[in-house]
């Protein structure tokens, strides 16, 4: 019997070590049918099972237009993520999903400026949106990416960042909290860079993803610049055991991060006091 809790079997086809703590996993389903019906949107997540260890939610980090495989960027921090870090290429895992109705506003933002604010591992989920956006670059106005990492060694997606930096049609600002001797870029938390944004608030969609502590401060800075609730989108992390609105660990007030989110507009969560 196939239930809402039954995973499809997938194979890890490639593993890339990105930092001491993070690896990127390319995954594709064993069954062609499963791969075919796996169509995700920017911001959605999967529940990944390491058999014998457990299941945990991970945001999909690859371009939704790539139908052959998908990618997860995983930090080794919990029991499942540690276990997947120990797996080798070719290993099989269980995948359920994609889940989440709340996606990054990839459609709504077309025809507008896009400001992306990423903190730490928060850049990973945003990659699905960013790569998608660059596929349709001409449909969006100005793009600015603000990315804050703890130190230069923690910076993810270095190749992509230098590629974006080389482009004329996107502004990239990377900042670190703890610079090393070689660091020549910005220093400090990413909120410091928001005052420099010169987009018109009414014509700008802002997408934020980062550690829980970051949101409040980013929103404060955005509001100082008169950015409005309905155009600020936040991807919220919560504990999720099921992904289908049943286990309820991800309740945020009246909403569930797994089915209603994980991406919410600030307007949607404005009245949910424990959201950010």
């Amino acid at each position: 019997m196939h239930t809402i809790y039954t995973p499809d079997i997938a194979r890890i086809t490639r593993i890339e070590t990105v930092t001491t703590n993070e690896k990127i996993f390319d995954i594709s389903f064993i069954e062609k049918e499963a791969q075919k019906k796996f169509n995700f949107l920017p911001g959605q997540f999967v529940e990944l099972t390491v058999f014998g260890v457990g299941e945990a939610p991970f945001s999909i980090t690859s371009n939704p237009n790539n139908k052959e495989k998908f990618q997860l960027c995983i930090r080794s921090v919990g029991s499942v993520s540690q276990a997947i870090h120990n797996l080798k290429e070719g290993a099989k895992v269980g995948i359920r999903g994609p889940f989440g109705k709340g996606t990054f506003p990839y459609e709504a933002a077309k025809g507008h400026n896009v400001l992306v604010v990423a903190g730490g591992l928060g850049l990973a989920p945003l990659m699905s949106f960013l790569t998608y956006m660059f596929d349709y670059r001409e449909e969006y106005k100005n793009i600015m990416i603000i990315y804050g990492a703890v130190n230069p060694g923690n910076i993810l997606y270095k190749n992509e960042i230098s590629y974006w930096s080389s482009r004329e049609d996107v502004k990239v600002c990377v900042t670190v909290d703890n610079p090393d001797d070689k660091w020549t870029g910005e220093i400090g938390v990413c909120t410091k860079l928001i005052p420099r944004v010169d987009f018109k608030p009414e014509d700008t969609y802002t997408i934020v993803c980062g550690p829980p502590v970051m949101y409040k401060y980013v929103v404060q800075e955005l509001e100082k610049k008169n950015f409005t609730d309905d155009k600020i989108f936040l991807s919220l992390e919560r504990r999720m055991e099921c992904g289908v609105g049943k286990c309820n660990h991800c309740h945020i007030g009246n909403k569930l991060a797994c089915v209603d989110g994980p991406v919410f507009s600030l307007w949607e969560i404005r009245d949910l006091k424990e959201a950010i």
């Binding site: 019997m1 196939h2 239930t3 809402i4 809790y5 039954t6 995973p7 079997i9 099972t49 058999f51 014998g52 260890v53 457990g54 299941e55 945990a56 930090r75 921090v77 919990g78 029991s79 499942v80 993520s81 099989k92 269980g94 550690p211 829980p212 502590v213 992390e237 919560r238 504990r239 055991e241 099921c242 289908v244 609105g245 049943k246 286990c247 309820n248 660990h249 309740h251 007030g253 009246n254 089915v259 009245d271 006091k273 424990e274």
Partner: protein
């Protein structure tokens, strides 16, 4: 709804036939203070005369405390298997609150994604409800959950010398036709039933003023003094959730057999009152204070599903009040919210 009358002298015979022919669960006296819904082989063991609620809610028959939702074998290739064991069962003797509790879970487990593990069992469960005078802590009247309009196959109301029988489903009707000697309910029977229900509603001692709670909760939410007082004695033990007929939260864990080749995914009841409920990998806990966890419980019970399903996720059975070691009382707390805001 079909209305019938079952005479007292035919009542035992009806139950006896059901016990003989079905996997039958009903209230059993476990000790002086505790009744529980258990499998009945001998009709004499059924004891509906209990002053407190049964400790464990009836949901355990279809949503058990622990349940395997997936089995796998990783010896060679990965093989996965998902099965639900569900046989027809009769659940006898649950009151209107508990019927409404199951009706809530029916809604919850079918919302958007249908939970097969719940419904395979639920669809094979025949429910025979039984009206009972409210216990001291029962405040279901305040929440409009004191009366079961649906969610049962048969519902009995004791009118002293006879039972007023409400038949809610075809399944229930078939059972009555096959195993019970009944007659149609007359005007007189309806009058007595009406009298019973009026008297029943007058018998509620516990009353919660839930009016305006939906809005009042928002202003009380930020009142730290209120919540530190309300949650002061909470042990974060989660007992309130374990006895609740509508609580649905679960954890999923993987259990491996000793050969490390075969394993199971098991879901087990969880409680939003337990400290690690909101803990994510990396150590951030979204609800690390017991005050916030109690807020979450009250919001979930009394507000969240008013918005989602237009119903409270609390049926007012009073089990949590009876069970809480810290004597946290949801009725008092609802009334305190009202008092605090209206002053």
């Amino acid at each position: 709804m079909i209305y019938k009358i079952l005479d007292k002298e035919d009542y035992n015979d009806f139950l006896k036939k059901l016990v003989e022919n079905y996997d039958f669960y009903g209230p059993v006296k476990k000790d002086a203070a505790v009744h529980d819904f258990q499998k009945i082989n001998d009709v004499e063991k059924i004891d509906v005369d209990f002053k407190r609620t049964t400790v464990a809610p009836a949901k355990k028959l279809i949503y058990p405390p622990e349940e395997t939702i997936l089995s796998y074998d990783i010896s060679d290739d990965i093989e996965i298997r998902s099965e639900v064991q569900a046989d027809e069962k009769i659940l006898f003797g649950i009151d209107a609150c508990d019927v409404n509790g199951l009706a809530f879970l029916d809604k919850f487990f079918s919302d958007e994604f249908v939970d097969d593990f719940y419904f395979q069992k639920r669809n094979k469960l025949i429910i025979i409800g039984l009206d009972r005078m409210p216990t001291e802590t029962n405040f279901s009247l305040s929440l409009g959950k004191e009366y079961a309009r649906e969610g049962f196959d048969i519902f009995l109301t004791d009118l002293k010398d006879r039972y007023f029988v409400r038949i809610g489903t075809e399944k229930g009707n078939n059972l009555i036709n096959k195993y019970a000697k009944t007659r149609d309910a007359s005007e007189n029977d309806f009058a007595d039933y009406d009298g019973y229900m009026d008297n029943y509603r007058k018998s509620f001692k516990a009353k919660a003023d839930i009016s305006n709670f939906y809005d009042n909760f928002e202003i009380i939410y930020d009142n730290d003094k209120f919540w530190s007082k309300t949650a002061k004695d909470c042990f974060s033990c989660g007992s309130c959730c374990l006895v609740c007929p509508t609580c649905f939260c679960f954890n999923v864990r993987d259990d491996m057999e000793i050969n490390l080749k075969k394993g199971n995914k098991i879901r087990e009841w969880d409680s939003c009152m337990i400290p690690d409920y909101g803990l994510v990998a990396g150590g951030h806990n979204f609800r690390k204070d017991k005050e916030n966890r109690l807020k979450q419980r009250y919001r979930c019970k009394l507000k969240t599903f008013v918005q989602k399903f237009d119903t409270y996720a609390c049926v007012g059975c009073g089990r949590c009040i009876e069970t809480c070691m810290a004597k946290i009382n949801i009725v008092d707390d609802i009334n305190s919210v009202k008092k605090e805001v209206s002053v």
